[in-house]
């Protein structure tokens, strides 16, 4: 699983945020742009790009972009 590409995918979902502000340490729900729509976008992104189960509950447990990456990586196998 390509880590740089993953970060790029995440950055693409935040169209109003400077991409440089989004790193693996970013607490994404604290981004000014964050909304319930982004929860939907991230879940759909993970389904479309990585084809692994990922729910709203999973999203709640993730704090940083790194957490997201690790959760998905563990499921991609």
């Amino acid at each position: 699983m390509d880590k740089d590409l993953f970060l790029q995918h995440i950055r693409d979902q935040f169209e109003e945020t400077d991409p440089a502000l989004i790193t693996f340490d970013t607490i994404f729900k604290q981004l000014e742009e964050w909304s319930s729509m982004h929860a939907l976008l991230l879940i759909a992104l993970i389904d479309a790009e990585y084809n692994v189960p990922f729910t709203g509950e999973d999203l709640q447990k993730c704090l940083t972009v790194e957490d997201l990456y690790n959760t998905i990586k563990s499921r991609v196998g």
């Binding site: 319930s36 729509m37 929860a39 939907l40 976008l41 879940i43 759909a44 992104l45 389904d47 479309a48 729910t55 709203g56 509950e57 999203l59 709640q60």
Partner: protein, 248 residues
């Protein structure tokens, strides 16, 4: 009160293996209807059959998306006095991530399958004069939500289709109506909760002046629309939402 009874009526229920469809079958059987219950999953369909009162019902297992075999399936059905189209699926997807295959799959199950089933029932003259057809739409058809583009579109299509059917078959005394429920506690509710989180669903539940729906709430409305008591109602959409959209 004879007009509210379904005694003497033979009714096809689709989506009968779970959720609203299963409860609708149970309620219609209680009201005296003789049922042909359709579902894809034979095991779960058998579970539905086991809870029906009365003995004259039968299970008709078939995947309604199998359009090639649809004429043969309809041929196997008895003459009908009513249809409750309850089969449906739900999957959220923001517009940006929509892909042809997923969009097709959702439209196929929620709109094309019930439309083609209705057409085939009419071609084979399975719907008797005085029949009532009920489609399960959704409050989302008129009040969409983020991520619901495909689902809301499929239900809006169903509502327009139902109204067309009402116009085309009024002269045969065949009526067509929709029920449009908001959130109902079915397996789809659990799916939604898994997708959007429990916290979000609790906030959503709090927005209902009465409460969120139970499958029985929808089943009773369907039963009314299938009964002769609703004989003057056709082409309508009955909103079932516990007051959710009253103020909007």
């Amino acid at each position: 009160m004879q007009t509210f009874s379904l005694r003497g009526k033979t009714i096809l229920v689709t989506g009968g293996s779970s959720g609203i469809g299963r409860q609708t079958a149970a309620t219609l059987a209680n009201l005296g209807g003789r049922l042909a219950v359709n579902g894809r999953n034979e095991v779960r369909l058998a579970e539905t059959m086991a809870v029906l009162t009365g003995a004259e019902h039968y299970a008709v297992s078939f995947d309604l998306n199998n359009t090639q075999q649809l004429p043969a399936f309809v041929e196997s059905l008895p003459e009908l006095n009513g249809v409750a189209h309850c089969a449906g699926i739900w999957k959220p997807c923001p517009v940006k991530f929509m892909k042809e295959q997923q969009l097709q799959a959702l439209l196929q199950t929620n709109f094309i399958a019930p439309a083609l089933l209705t057409a085939e029932l009419l071609r084979q003259k399975k719907l008797m004069s005085g029949s009532s057809v009920v489609f399960v739409s959704s409050v989302a058809a008129q009040h969409p939500y983020k991520g619901g583009g495909a689902y809301a579109a499929s239900k809006a299509a169903l509502e327009a289709f139902s109204k067309t059917l009402a116009l085309e078959y009024a002269h045969k005394k065949i009526r067509s109506n929709c029920v449009a429920p908001a959130m109902v506690k079915t397996p789809i509710f659990d799916d939604t909760q898994n997708t959007v989180s429990e916290q979000y669903m609790q906030a959503h539940e709090a927005a209902y002046p009465l409460r969120v729906g139970q499958p029985e709430d929808v089943a009773y409305a369907i039963a009314y629309l299938l009964s002769d008591a609703s004989g003057w109602i056709t082409g309508s959409v009955m909103r079932l939402d516990g007051g959710l959209t009253v103020g909007s």
